[in-house]
Symmetry: C2
Subunit: 600 residues, 2 copies
């Protein structure tokens, strides 16, 4: 009998693992038209439980891909946090309420909770709209990156060989030649191990239980995020979609550890977890209405991978490179934001627009964030797991300390605080030109008015994650003749053959999208006055003005710290400010794009 | 050979005509679970052209059925109007810009333009989600309403016999026994003629041309609604979805009439229409980029049907009972709002909840509105068709007169101004209790905060068109003991067996949905303090407060003119305020519901 030929194929990017990090990656690449495949070892998608909190910044990111609408429709929103402490009369009492999100610039000033299966379904339907499906149950069996330096340096080479096996097909092994591989295969990542990347950090001693249920209770804050410190242990409430509520319940060593000190899952069940919770809730009563939907026990681990990439060919993302406590609601958010950072970089390199050096910034930016996150998480978890301060426990944490920490950590818990350090793609030289924009931070949400039709828009919605750099030209008031002269000069410079616009974009609108933002009033502006290179379409001229109701818009120059003389702001394809320049000097823009762009 | 049996069937409601009025009707009834069929003589849906402006109030109505999201995504928005007049230098010049919508309470302060085919597609997909399709091409052949008074009085009797014919099926005649028929079959309505209902009013002398195209122009207001008065005729610009623009072009008698004085379509074509427009635009240039997409010529007719119903069994709606000029953007809006008014009334009667007398209010409310609309339209059309005032034409209309009229007509052009007169279902006795709410007008949009989780909501979104009456109990501050006492008293009254809540609703939540709205702060309220009959679910307690950002909500008591002593506001299933009562006296509520409700 003839030996059957092994199935063999080429792909640009192979994503391993279809959790939030992998799905975000695959949808972003598919959207960009990249040749991508995604495999997962699980036969079906997650049905319940697991991570479920979406932070304000992550909602902005999902919105930039057009995916937030459904999330907001299906999910629960947490707007308020409530704090409970031991009461002098015994049991607990409320010491205060505060906004759940402390990030004044948040576009969505709340967190969304929705079970992971529903979140994954949003991505799966999105992938389907691009004609892609997750291939499952499929496991990777081997991975090999070429050692040939010439091949490694060629961004278009299929430098990686991966053998995968379709578990549903007998003998279903396939050899895939991939240009790039993204390992988003979870905390026990196979890709990470194959690449020999170590996890750094350790597990803590904190053990927590989690219960998802529809509660029957007289507790007045059951639909708010609650931090309950009682003399019978700590508890956190995370309200979820519909009438479901999640409880995080602090467990003691005697609750969960066997004589050898190891956590013994067998010692526990949902009823026992609820018994512990009931003691914390006293004098309020709480029980499950019907069955408990899901429960688990976990030990907090806080670890970061030593490297996030191998040869700029194989990348790891999500739980594969960082794990932390779920209570700060960070895990899934960090995971999706990892690959959000990577999507456009892979796309630009694959299209031949950018040098492979661009890929080095993935580890540089995301590993630092993961480390900062762990540091934050360590403090937060310790604080939350501590006993409340009392006469018996003078070293305990006071409600004030906890509340202060809760507020100070707002930038982290909201995800808004991400600021990437200076690099190839973050140039903060001209910070003063837009003094209130954080270079390396995400572009601040702000309503603007479109000049041609006075329609208000959230600026972020005009800057979608479409892999293009966005160039915002703040022209000042174009009815001012001297300012108009500067704008015309800029238009001339940008129109030259050696301008970055012409040099690095095959067609200008493939790599860049450009808007002009004038400080002229909507009643007086004629969008037709803007030089053509600054308005490729009637929709590209915007105004710093209020809308017809006087309620929306106005103040973008002020909010970004831009004066009447104008400025140019370049926003990376992932929504982070890359570089800022004065209106009359594009030298730094040329330098910025020359740093990683490839001539077309 | 045996004679083939004629197909025969029963239906609760037969809708004839699948334009905007018929589609609105069918989706509303299907949504309510009513047994409905809809037929149309056209083989396919409208592809381009025809009416296309959706007013702010109609957007609210579509939103109440969950249909606004797609409209807003696909449509163009008109926020600004611009006015052009003859310039002393020749040609035209801009005399000013003003908000397109002058209705301070509009939730959507703009009009949406989208071609009728796209609007119908929203309805068709919605119908499909309820398992319904428009049957086409199907024509009605005969209609007969029984003359037996006993049958006519029985709301559940199949009192109407309609023969229809499927044009695609040979011998496809079917006899339908319907309880009710809605004739939404256009300006040449077959149903209207069969019922012997006359149209009152007449055609005007105004002849206009319409052109849809993508323009190539230097006119700076091409994306605004424009009223251009030139010495070469009037022109109106209505920007549309994508880059399409619609021009309404005033034509002179010599342009279009033949020697006998009749309008001769053969005298015209798209190029000739554009030639007329070009003269009005001078000194700006305008031409079509590519082909003209659609064009027509029409004479303004302003007519209202003498009756809107026959025996409370056969109703006519939309163009079948009123026609007017398209420039005020009224036609399609009035049509959809006709059947929006009828849907819940038919549903309540069919479910045995309401007396047939409820159906009389359809003609009472909608015919008066149609007449008011025609009066308005007559003035507006005359004004718009007039020559501008000048030395040669001292009787012409000045720009100021036109602008004043444009502003004064804001309530009509927005659709916000609809106020139904007192009737069985509009009781204005206690107007002073909610002094700023218009009884018979739509409930004013307003953001409120949900007590249990501090999440902000637009109140209108909590009052969807689900055929239920909405009872809003404004409780005042429930932390005030004397106010809480009144609330408890009310709860006791509502809980009695002879209360309207119990008497007229098989299950309370089938006919009524109830919310309480407290003036307690979100940091202090416990939703669990509200008596159970006023909170059937944790989501039913609302607050007059601002959200965590301080930007949304607050002021609902003030906006509605309700004092700290509270009030009860009943909102009809179509979103119009039906009756208002003081917190301590439900007599008028009992009287209101007893007027048309049937005991269960």
């Amino acid at each position: 009998m003839p030996v059957p030929l092994l199935k063999e194929s080429d792909v640009d990017v192979l994503v391993i693992g279809a959790g939030p990090a992998g799905l975000m990656c695959a949808q972003g690449l598919a959207r960009a038209g990249v040749n991508v495949r995604i495999i997962d070892k699980r036969p079906g998608k997650v049905a319940a439980g697991q991570a479920d909190g979406i932070q304000p910044r992550t909602i902005e990111v999902l919105q930039s891909y057009g995916l937030a609408e459904r999330l907001l429709r299906e999910g629960n929103q947490m707007h308020m946090a409530a704090f409970y402490d031991p009461s002098p009369q015994g049991g607990i009492h409320r010491t205060g309420r505060a906004p759940d999100i402390n990030a004044p610039t948040a576009r969505y000033p709340f967190e969304v909770t929705l079970h992971q299966g529903a979140i994954e379904a949003i991505f799966l339907d999105c992938l389907r709209s691009f004609g892609k499906e997750v291939e499952r149950p499929v496991v990777p069996e081997s991975i090999e990156v070429t050692t040939d330096p010439v091949v490694l340096k060629n961004p278009q080479a299929h430098a990686i060989t991966v053998a995968i096996k379709d578990l549903d097909a007998p003998g279903g092994t396939e050899i895939i030649h991939a240009k790039y591989v993204v390992g988003a295969d979870g905390a026990h990542s196979w890709v990470r191990k194959e690449m020999g990347i170590a996890m750094e950090g350790e597990q803590t001693d904190y053990v927590w239980g989690v219960v998802d249920m529809i509660p029957d209770t007289d507790f007045p804050d059951i639909r708010n995020r609650c931090a309950i410190h009682s003399n019978n242990g700590s508890c956190m409430i995370i309200p979820r979609e519909g009438d479901v509520v999640r409880l995080y319940i602090q467990l003691t060593d005697q609750d969960v550890r066997n004589v050898t000190g190891r956590v013994d899952m067998g010692k526990f069940n949902a009823e026992k977890l609820l018994e512990v919770a009931k003691k914390s809730f006293y004098p309020y009563r709480i029980k499950a209405h019907g069955d408990v939907q899901w429960w688990t026990i976990y030990i907090i681990g806080q670890r970061v991978a030593a490297k996030f990439a191998s040869h700029e060919r194989v990348f790891i993302a999500g739980d594969a490179c960082h794990t932390h406590s779920p209570k700060a609601g960070q895990g899934m958010n960090a995971s999706m934001n990892d690959t959000h950072n990577l999507i456009w970089k892979l796309t630009h390199v694959l299209r031949g627009w950018a040098d492979m050096s661009l890929l080095k910034t993935y580890e540089f930016e995301r590993r630092k964030y993961a480390q900062d996150l762990i540091d934050f998480d360590r403090k937060f978890a310790a604080l939350f797991s501590s006993k409340p301060k009392s006469e018996d426990n003078p070293d305990g944490v006071t409600q004030e300390e906890f509340l202060d920490a809760f507020r100070a950590f707002g930038a982290f818990t909201s995800g808004i605080g991400i600021q990437y350090a200076p690099s190839l793609i973050v140039n903060a030289t001209h910070q003063t030109v837009a003094s209130r924009l954080i270079i390396g931070g995400r572009i601040l949400p702000q309503s603007v008015i479109r000049a041609a039709d006075a329609r208000p828009f959230e600026l972020q919605d005009l800057l979608p994650s479409d892999t293009r750099f966005k160039i915002l030209v703040f022209t000042g008031d174009i009815r001012d003749a001297s300012q108009m002269e500067k704008v015309n000069e800029l238009a001339n410079k940008l129109g030259r053959e050696d301008s970055f616009l012409r040099k690095f974009g095959k067609r200008q609108d493939e790599v860049y999208d450009m808007f002009s933002i004038c400080s002229t009033r909507k009643e007086e502006v004629n969008y037709t006055d803007m030089p053509p290179i600054l308005r490729s379409h009637w929709s590209k001229v915007l105004l710093d003005d209020i809308d017809s109701t006087g309620k929306i818009g106005g103040g973008v120059y002020d909010k970004y710290g831009i004066g009447s003389e104008g400025a140019i702001v370049v926003i990376r394809p992932d929504g982070y400010v890359g570089v800022v320049a004065p209106l009359n000097d594009v030298t730094d823009l040329e330098r910025y794009f020359s740093g990683f762009s490839v001539k077309s």
